[in-house]
Every structure is written in structure tokens, then in C-alpha cells.
């Protein structure tokens, strides 16, 4: 295998927040009965973080679990571990109606960092981004201007955001424009 290449090869820009595309991140879609012990164990077993409740996202470094819908989770882990993790999860869930699929390369991952990060996203997503309404441990699946996206916080002033790989450049351009110096809103 060649080294995996992310959509924008780590493109970054500095505005009143820093926007940077991240290298490949392992992501696995798990669909199943989220109340099932086998599903919970399969997810937490490879991710190594607590099982998330509704609209929650638990992330530690490259590992994490995100609640995506009432019957869907996203499992995050280092890119190289994905084939083994898919095999482990599929094996663990062999008796259970479920779907496990590698979606690592279907997505692009961005970081938006800095005190202005909330404002950058609040220009593009119809989401209440005030600290009282959105904090680490939460996830929103929403839209960013005209494309679907999801984001969560990886720290007090750091967001991680995923979109589909094909629109990575569009999303980078959006974030860059929203973070351009002079565009500070001063709202949060």
C-alpha cells in the first residue's frame, strides 16, 4: 500500500481562527441496536472510550465514539488500525443484525482552533454555538453552507469537523473565508 493521502494533503490557513485539514483518520460506521450489549462492547472495545448518549461524542486523541443517529455510531481510531478493527467488530457482531463499514476515506477531517473558532462555524452552520449550548462531549450533524457536515469539540477552543471527501476543497474555502481577518463578530 502507498501512504494514504487525505483529500487536501493537510492544507491549512491562519485567520482569526486556524483552519487545518487533518491527515487520514480511521472512521468506521456501525449501525445496529445501540441498546444491545454486543453493539456497545464492539464499539467501546475498539475505540477505548465511553459509549456516547444521544448527540454525544467522546474523543480522546484519535480515538472516539460519536452518536450519529438512533441506530448509527461513528467509531474513530488511527487510520492504520481500521482493517483489523473492522474484522474484530464484524466478528464480535456475527450473531447480531448490524452493519460495519470502513468510511475513513469517504471523509475529510478539519480542525478549527482558536478563540474565534465558535464564530467561524456560527457563520456557516445553523447551530447554537454559544458555550452554554455547545460544549465538549457534544456532536452536531448539520450543514455547512450547502453541504452536510458534523462537528464536535476536541478542547475548549478546538473543533473537529468532518465532511465528505469530494467537497473538502469547498469546505476548506468556506472555513477560510469565515475565518478571514476582519470578520470577527465578537458575539460569543
Amino acid at each position: 500500500m502507498s501512504e494514504p493521502v487525505s483529500a487536501l494533503d493537510g492544507a491549512a490557513c491562519e485567520g482569526f481562527a486556524r483552519v487545518a485539514e487533518q491527515g487520514p483518520r480511521g472512521m468506521i460506521t456501525l449501525r445496529g441496536d445501540l441498546a444491545s450489549v454486543a453493539v456497545k462492547n464492539a464499539a467501546t472495545g475498539v475505540a477505548g472510550v465511553d459509549f456516547p448518549g444521544q448527540r454525544e461524542c467522546h474523543v480522546v486523541g484519535e480515538r472516539g465514539l460519536a452518536w450519529m443517529s438512533p441506530d448509527e455510531l461513528m467509531v474513530m481510531l488511527p487510520h492504520a488500525e481500521v482493517p483489523a478493527a473492522v474484522a474484530t467488530m464484524t466478528g464480535a457482531l456475527s450473531g447480531e443484525h448490524s452493519l460495519v463499514a470502513d468510511v475513513s476515506d469517504a471523509r475529510a477531517l478539519f480542525r478549527i482552533e482558536g478563540p474565534g473558532a465558535r464564530e467561524v462555524l456560527a457563520k456557516l452552520a445553523p447551530v447554537d454555538l454559544s458555550p452554554a449550548a455547545f460544549a465538549p462531549g457534544m456532536i452536531r450533524r448539520t450543514r455547512l453552507a450547502q453541504v452536510p457536515a458534523a462537528f464536535w469539540m476536541a478542547g475548549a477552543e478546538t473543533f473537529e469537523l468532518v465532511c465528505f471527501r469530494s467537497v473538502a476543497q469547498y469546505v476548506f474555502d468556506l472555513l477560510k473565508g469565515a475565518a478571514a481577518p476582519g470578520g470577527e463578530v465578537g458575539y460569543f
Binding site: 487525505s6 468510511v103 471527501r165 467537497v167 468556506l174 473565508g177 469565515a178 470578520g183
Partner: protein
Amino acid sequence: MSTRLQTGGRLIDRNARRGFTFNGRRLEGVAGDTLASALLANDQMLVGRSFKYHRPRGFVAAGAEEPNGLVNLGTGGRFEPNQRATTTELFDGLACASQNHWPSLDFDIGAVNGPLARFLPAGFYYKTFIQPRPFWKHVYEPFIRQSAGLGQVPAERDADRYEHFYAFVDVLVIGGGIAGLQAALAAGRAGARVLLIEQTAHWGGRAPVDGVTIDGHPAEAWIARALKALEGMENVTLRTRCMGAGVYDHGYALGYERVADHSPGDTRPRHRLWKIRAARIITATGAIERPLSFAGNDIPGVMLASAVRDYVANWAVSPGDRTVVVTNNDDAYRTALMLREAGLVVPAIIDARPTASGPLVRAAREAGIRVETGRGIARVKGAKRVTGVALCAQAGEGAVLEEIPCDAVAMSGGWSPVVHLWSHCGGKLTWDAGQAHFRPDPERAPTSHDGAPFVIAAGSANGYLLAGEALADGDAAGKSAVRSLGMAAKGGAVPKAEAEAEGPMTPVWMMPQGAGAELRMKMWLDYQNDVKVSDVQLAAREGYESVEHTKRYTTLGMATDQGKLSNINGLAVLSQSLGADIPQVGTTTFRPPYTPISFGAIAGEARGDTFQPLRRTPMHRWHEENGADWEPVGQWRRPYCYPRDGESREDAVGREVKNTRQNLGLLDASTLGKILVKGPDAGRFLDMLYTNMMSNLKPGKCRYGLMCNENGFLMDDGVVARIDEETFLCHTTSGGAEHIHAHMEDWLQCEWWDWRVYTANLTEQFAQIAVVGPHARDLLEKLGGMDVGAGALPFMAWSEGEIAGVRARVYRISFSGELSYEIAVPASQGLALWEKLVSAGEEFGLMPYGTEALHVMRAEKGFIMIGDETDGTVIPQDLGLHWAISKKKDDYIGKRAQQRAHMVDPERWQLVGLETLGGGVLPEGAYALAPDQNANGQRNTQGRVTSTYYSPTLERGIALGLVRRGPERMGEIIEFATLDGTTMSAKIVDPVFYDKDGEKQNV
């Protein structure tokens, strides 16, 4: 003449000079000026020409309601027409020009309309230009278009950027006058998340101008304290230059922030559109003074009395040395007193009321100002500026009693609350006869999703015109908003605002009340659209009873100011003409935005590179670097072809087709939809989704399938691969992935919720590369990693392994009719594999090919394309695809619909091949002609071309088409219409033009 006064001006800094130009003339203003105050300070009273009659016009107002003072503002990439000078903050270097005149503002040839005005009444255009009919399009309209219009269209791209911002609050307060400030204080103290927005650059509204005191101090001191208190609250956000543009369902509101209009080019976005979701909205939007309808009320120098006060108090600008005040209420006396205090002359106050006796009236009389009650203005004298007024008895017909020379007229017909935002989402109004205005009816407020009122009007916007009651009402609104949200309103004394008391006003809709036709034709209601009292009366006589119809017939209130000054006066005239009460006639509908907002703000980030998302495959950059000629496919960009040096598109396509058929071609097929379907019921589910049987497909095999909607029409097609007992991978068309996935989830979630099936859209997980042509196997064997031989991987099978060291799934499927492998690899490996294939393929003559070569090759094979052979009205049976429709299955989506009489009609147009007799190429979409004409006199047709290409393989034109009873008519020659009126003959043939037996793909 208008000029800058020596002292005063609460908003200006006389030491900071600001140079600007008007029609190329260099002028000077000061910091804090609006463009309007700066022009008036330079005695520029004439600022534009009216829309219809090209009458000379000057400023009549000082704020958002201004109808006349519109200019072409800025230059180059910052040029914008119809900018309101009264709401444009002056900055150094501002350049503007007046509008709607030719050749110049001072001498306008269009003003010839003026003397002819009697021949241009309401509905003139409708009545005059109706006959002869063809003249409208070719003679009248081009001429009228040339003379119509206000500003010019920008010639350059907009140099600025714009953005949106989403905010979520408990209470949105619109309007930063004293009522809005107090409402925000009350809501903020209760702990609510509050956003307070004010359209101008200054807080406090009219109170500081009108001499209001609050708790014994001048209003300005209280405003400063209130702001300080609000700024100290973490839960309150304040924005100036941010107008409440619209109120919509469920507490949604738009705020239009003019971030950098006053500082162009300072790196900030020019405008920001706030998209606000508020639990409660308080509209403290103030009130607007009404003009009076007297002859010549549009001559430059005639202004609203409150605007005259604004210019004097805010910007130290006097509209003239001698100003006559004309009024029907006490408030306008404030103007007279202020002018007198500024050392200017007020020759008379003309009061239409029979008697006047309030404290302000007394003060004016005590100051020695002549007060004439029971009088009106018969006509204003002057052309490009006021030179005097002629007095008459208000009760009479306009016989002139006296003429008074003056430079300006300050008029007041009373005040109308700004009820626009209250009304946008359905708030109803009630007629207040005492103040002669419509005010919000709190019993009929706009309601939210839970049925609770979500808009609260406050202050003068709620009909409380006096400062004391306006401030108390703001307090009540803030408290009522938070209480309705379950929060406890904090107590504390309500500040006490005081202003001089006012005696009752008397409605005056025409001055004098018995004015004859001659005067009524000079009484302007709508300044911008040139609608006069006589026009509305004519409309009433002609039978226009509805205020909405009258508006459209006369164009009253239809200009860029949306009738802020004219609507109430106009409907009062209408109601009098109809002999009806004003509330019976009602108002026209208030629609957002409150004042025009920029297209840039609406578009936000959606321009330039981010106008629309552009989807790129993992190999996009390679295509770009190798000269791809792009084609949009949905939001994807796909290479149409790869022209080489000097090659035309046609030549490139021809080369790519031939090379693929003879040697080896490479196609980026990553855009194909790939949907994983898994579960114990997956086979059963796909049997319902596809017309053919999928549940009996063996793992490791592929099958082509058709998907119809419930009306039986073909909506998508593609190859299904069975991965294992419970898992299928469904390929969709490039444009179909998202909606087919949604279609699947719709059926699974809403209809067959008990079927155990999960889906996942994996389209973007894989880069997919088609290796196509006689040398396809040679290339893959050279790269090595897995057995791709005919035995291990026969036609319509797939297998998994490695190609050139990359984890891959290889499908032996063909859309070209050649030996073909489609290789799916993780997207992060796509470019690497593509490059390996390109370099290893060199010895086999490999060339990449684009979508057009793909199209040509599939058409040569008679393969259909969704969107070409289908258009939403075509069923699989029309396309001869009976072989892909299972007869064994009880049901599939669309089956029942396909049994309806029209669907089984043998007369339906069906798929055939078409071969032109001369070898030429049929035009796209051409119709096959049938004898005679239909009932509408149109030529009858019997079919149409769905795909047509020059085939480089066969060296002739080939086409697919739908023809009535086509398959029964093989060999028949039919005629196709072309755009130049001639016809082309084509023979009906089998749709498969090339390798009918499929020997080439199955080797």
C-alpha cells in the same frame, strides 16, 4: 439655502473633515455626517429626479423612510445604485452621483413629462399602449424601458465580501431608542439571552432630538447609563448599524448589519446577515412622520418637520434661513421652537386645526412666532427649490389669502407607528382614531409553534408616541417577554421620561380640504413613484375598491421605499373617495425586508469559488494537470475528454474511443454511487427495489438492475454485486447516489420498518477506475497481485485482492462493450493506483478517456443512459428491457403502475436505433415527424431522438430514439425535423450498433 450652522450638531465632529464628490463636484462634510446632511450643508437641495415625471426632488426625510435621496454610490467594484443618502454615513473619498436624469441633474430633458403630467394619469401605460398589440413588444416597451429605472446597473464584480451569522436568543429587541433600550434592560436583568439591534450608528432614537428628559436629566445621560448597564451584562449583545429586516415563522428574524459601508476596504465584510432564532421578539421600531398633501409638497425644501429637527440637532444643518411650519398636531411646534433657538426665522406656523392650545403652542406664541390656525398651504412656490408658500383656509377650496416668502417648509401630518416587523408574520393592526394611525393589536399578535404570541410591540411602534408612555411600554414589553418564557422579571423603578404634553391632533388628508383638480394633481403621495392624490381618486372612480388593487394600478407604495411615507395618506384618500372608513379599507401587506438589503448579504458565502459545492474525485488534480476538458455531472466535475496539443474536443473524443476499442482506455468512475445494503432481509428488500430478481444472485457475482419509482417510471440503473449472504453493494448513477440512498431509507424507515436491513452510502470511500480495452487484462497481469484471468474472474463476477500492492475489489463489468475491469480501492489510494496504471499502461498504448467517449461507446452498444433515454416518463418496457423485469416476483416498486392501460398501450414510443441515410448526425432531441397537424396547428410527431453521436468506430452518425411502435417498424425510414426547417431521413434499426453478440467484452 441650506447650510451648516455655526454651533451644535450632536453627532458631528467639526474638526474631522471628510471630502467627497457629488456628480464629480468636490464637496466637504465632517465626521458623523450622513451623505444627506453633508449635501444639505453644501446647499445641495436638489438631489435627484422622480421616476415618472422627472420632477426635481430634494430630501424630505432624514432616515430610512426617505423616498427621494437615492444616489449611485461608489465606483468600480464598490458601485451600487439606489443608495439612500439619509442612511449612508459619510466617509472620506465617498463618490456619488444623482440618478434618473439626462443629460444632467439641473437640466433634464425627461422633465418634459412635467407639463404633460395631466396626460399621464394612473394606468396611463396600460390604457395607452394596449393597441396595436405588436407595438408593445417592438415600439412601446423598448422606449418606456429606456426612460424608466432609477440607478445604473453595476458594471464590475462586487469587490466586497459578505457573510451570514446564526444567533439564538431568548429575546431579540429590534430598535435602540429609549423603549428598546429599556426593554433590553428589563429582559437582560431577568437573565435572558438578549440581542438588541439598532439600524443607525447611534443609540437613543429621537429622544435626544426631541428634548426628552428622563428621571430629571437630558435623555442622552440616561441613554449613556442604560448602555453602560447593558454592556455590563454578559447575557446581552448590542449591535448598531444592524436593521431588523424581517420577522418570520417561529421566532426567526433577519438582521442586516452594515459592517463596513462606512469604511469600505478596511478588510471587514461589507454586510453581515444575522439569521436569528428568538423565543420572543420585541419590535421597538419607532414611528414615522407623515407628509401633508398640499400642492407642490414635493418641491426641494419641503421636508418632514421631524427631519428638519434632525438636521438641525444632529448635524447642525439648517434647511433654510426662513422655514414655514405646517401641521395638524403639536409635535411640529418643536421644530419651530428649535429653529428659532438656532437663530433662524420661522415666518409662520400654519396649523390646519381650527384651534390650537397645547403647551408647545403656547410656547411658540410666547416666543413670538406667528401661529395661523384653520389655515393650510394652497400651493408651494418654486421649482428646483422652495421660494414661498401661498396660504388658504383649510376648510376652503384653496383661494390664496397671502403669500409668505421662505426657503423651506416643515410639514407634519401626524405619526404612524412602524408596524412592519409586527406585521411580517401575521400581527394584526387596529385603527387608533385619536392619533389617526394604525397600531399593533396585542390581542392578535403573531403566534409561534406553540400558539403563544412571539412578537411584542413596544414604545412608539406600539402607538405610544409620548416619551413617558413609550419608555414605560418598553419596560412592560421586556418584562412580559421574559415572564412568558418562565423567567422572573426583576423589579426596580421604571425610569420616568418627560416631554412637553401635546394637545389633540386632527387628521388632515388633503390641504385644503376642498381642493380642486388643479391642486390635487400637484399633491404628491408617493414621491418616488410619482403618485398623486388625483391618481388614487381616479383609481377609485374607475372601480378600484381594494387597497391592494389600487396599489398595483397606481404604483402607490411600490417603490424602493415601499410607501413608508405614502401608504397611510394614500389609503386615507382612497377611503374618502370610496366613502368608506379607513379601517374598512385596511392596509396593504407589509413584507420583508423593512428596507432593501443587498444581494451580497443574501448570498453570503455563496459566490466565486464557493458559489456551489464542486465535488472532486481523488484523481481530480491529475485530470486537471493533464488537460481535462470538464463536464459538470450533478455537482461533480468529470473530464469530458483530454484534448492533446491543438486537438478539438471532437477529435479528442474520437481518438479516445478508438484507442479504447483498439488498445486500452482508463476512466475515472469514482463518481458512481455505491450503497451497501446489509441484513437478513437485504435480498427481499432489493427484490422490491429493483425490477429484476436480486435475492438469487450468488456471492461473488454481479447483476445489472433497474430501479423504478412507484409510478413505474425508470429512475436509476446500475450493477449490484453480492458481497456475502447478507450483503449487497448497489451501484447507482453518478447523479443518483444521494437520492437513491434517501429512497432506500424512506422505504425502510416509513414502510418496511420491521425489515432487518441497514444501508450505508459508501460512494466516497472508494476511488473507482475502469480499465477498458483489449489490453486490459495484460495491464492488470503486469501489475500483478491477483488472478484476473477469465477463469478466476469471468464476465459479471467480482473478486477481492491486491492490484499493484493496493487493497482492491475488482468488478468484471463493462459499459463499453470491451474487456473491462472496474477497480475499487480506498479513496486515499486512488491517485496512487491511477498513476501506476498510467505508467504501466504506456506499453499497451493506454490513454485516459472522458465521459463523452464513455457515452459514445455505450450508445454504440445500445446501452441506455438514465437522463438521456429516460426523462421521468419512460418505463423499462419502453426501452426493450423486458429481460430485466422479473416475471417471477409478486411485486416490486412500480410493478402495479406498469400494468395501467396507458403503460401497456402498444402505441407507446419505444427504443430503436436510428441510422441516417447520409451518415450524418441527427440533432439532439429532434422529433420524428408524422403526417398532418394537431388541433393547435402544430406538426404531429411520432418519436424523438434521445442520444445521438458521431461514432468513430463505425465512422457515421448513430442515434437512439423513442419511436411509436418502433421495434415493429425495423427498416422503415422516417423523417426528423432539424432547427433550420429542413428534415433528415433515418432508418429504424436495432439499437445495438456494435458487437451484437458481446464477444469482445466476454473474453
